[in-house]
Symmetry: C2
Subunit: 243 residues, 2 copies
DNA sequence: AGCCTGAATTGAACGCGTTCAATTCAGGCG
DNA sequence: CGCCTGAATTGAACGCGTTCAATTCAGGCT
């Protein structure tokens, strides 16, 4: 048996080892987070449970928050996968949009209990977890692309300028829904689903309204506002001045 | 001199003392926050600077976060005062709305550097600082009333259902602007002011559009959505289940 | 085999927010 | 006047996240 497996080079074996430890720590951490909550889970407990020293946990994760970031990346992947399924299946704009949004809520549902901490750290402009930070730019871009795909892959034709601006708008909208969801304590987060479904319907209606020439100037101004401000706000362009 | 001042009862003298200590601690804390930032200011430093013991600081403020809450209450008062001035002066809906929003940004400007921490804690559903929490309900109500006054005191007449729903909508909108402001690193937060002015204009335009019967069903649905969901989300209705 | 090097790992130590048993203070009462 | 009581105040101690100098480990080179 081992004679067959020899092919693996040394450096790869080394990397494998490190990645296993890393995965072990992350897995243990997420489990403890789910069991006891974030604040109640200490780094010492994580390390002990994972069979490593405290310092070693910090070797792989710069801070306790970075463990959340890893989790964040994971649910993001899950959402992408779930959305892909919807987008492959559906052609109607409404179904696609609704499906992606529903997938979002479904994906994050298991973590609702400690979503507060997640958002708490995510809201800090200085945190790498901040959705506007440079560190989470890839994730943000992927999410935005998702909404691009929702629109361009649908059988509905929309004016070009709207197509250009909508993805970012919808991304912000979806963040708003998540924000509501975080504070939603209704059973099964039913209210969040309800709000999402209704607001999606409303948005689609609003979009269709833009066909009327009456509303064109309004639309124009909205688009100018959005494109003018998009992206330039992130504090990441210059390193935060800490003396 | 003292013969005149004798009138003060004992209990009042006592209360005065306590309140002075409390004020002393708060003043020192806010000063240090502004100087060095929130995270960099330790409770020990605050206590020492205020000439009290650490424990005593905790006697008056349950936690470091509660010092922020006190600051929050203060800027809220300032905003109310500044808004009052505007509302007494202006009669046009646009001027009133713009004035109140501008006053908001002006009021919080001095604290922009540590606004991140403010929002970070405010975003946590479990935190008393959370704008949706029971503890900040009075502040939230006052803010909402402010927008009621913006509308009802203006010389523009609006449909009754709109008048009923707008205050809450505008409050949420104003929170959104603050959220943008927190992440705004442009000089003088110019971008936030710009966004605010443009979006205010847009909102007013949107409001005036509702006069067209074409948009009535849209408006209806929007109002239903808002009134249905308003307020019931706060997790404060039942004590958070902590085992 | 022996050495070198850089990754992996350790655990004691630091600084922080927070707690709390103990102490002081000051006004009311017999 | 001395006692009582509750508010005000103290500071040592706790548990936490985080750091870092020191140590081990394992592969590559001579």
């Amino acid at each position: 048996m081992d004679a067959i497996a020899v092919a693996a080079p040394e450096s790869q074996k080394k990397r494998r080892k490190g990645e296993e430890t890393r995965a072990q720590i992350l897995e243990t951490a997420l489990e403890l987070f789910r069991e006891r909550g974030y604040e109640e889970t200490t780094m010492r407990a994580i390390a002990e449970s994972a069979g490593v020293s405290v310092g070693n946990a910090y070797y792989y994760f710069k801070s306790k928050e970075h463990l959340i970031q890893a989790f964040y990346a994971r649910t993001h992947e899950e959402h992408l996968a779930a959305s892909r399924e919807v987008l492959d299946r559906e052609r109607g704009l409404r179904e696609r949009f609704l499906g992606v949004m529903r997938a979002k809520l479904d994906t994050i549902e298991p973590y609702h209990q400690f979503s507060g901490v997640l958002f708490k750290t995510a809201a800090d402009p200085a945190s790498p977890l901040n959705p506007f930070s440079a560190e989470s730019l890839p994730v943000r871009q992927q999410s935005t692309e998702l909404f691009t795909e929702v629109i361009t892959g649908a059988d509905t034709r929309l004016p070009a300028e709207l197509v250009a601006a909508l993805p970012n708008l919808l991304w912000v909208y979806h963040m708003g829904i998540v924000l509501y969801w975080i504070h939603d304590s209704s059973p099964g987060c039913a209210k969040s689903y309800r709000l999402m479904e209704r607001s999606v319907r409303l948005i689609l209606r609003l979009i269709s309204l833009f066909q009327f020439p009456l509303l064109r100037p309004f639309l124009r101004e909205l688009l100018v506002l959005v494109t003018e401000l998009r992206g330039d706000v992130t504090p990441a362009q210059a390193a935060p001045a800490v003396e």
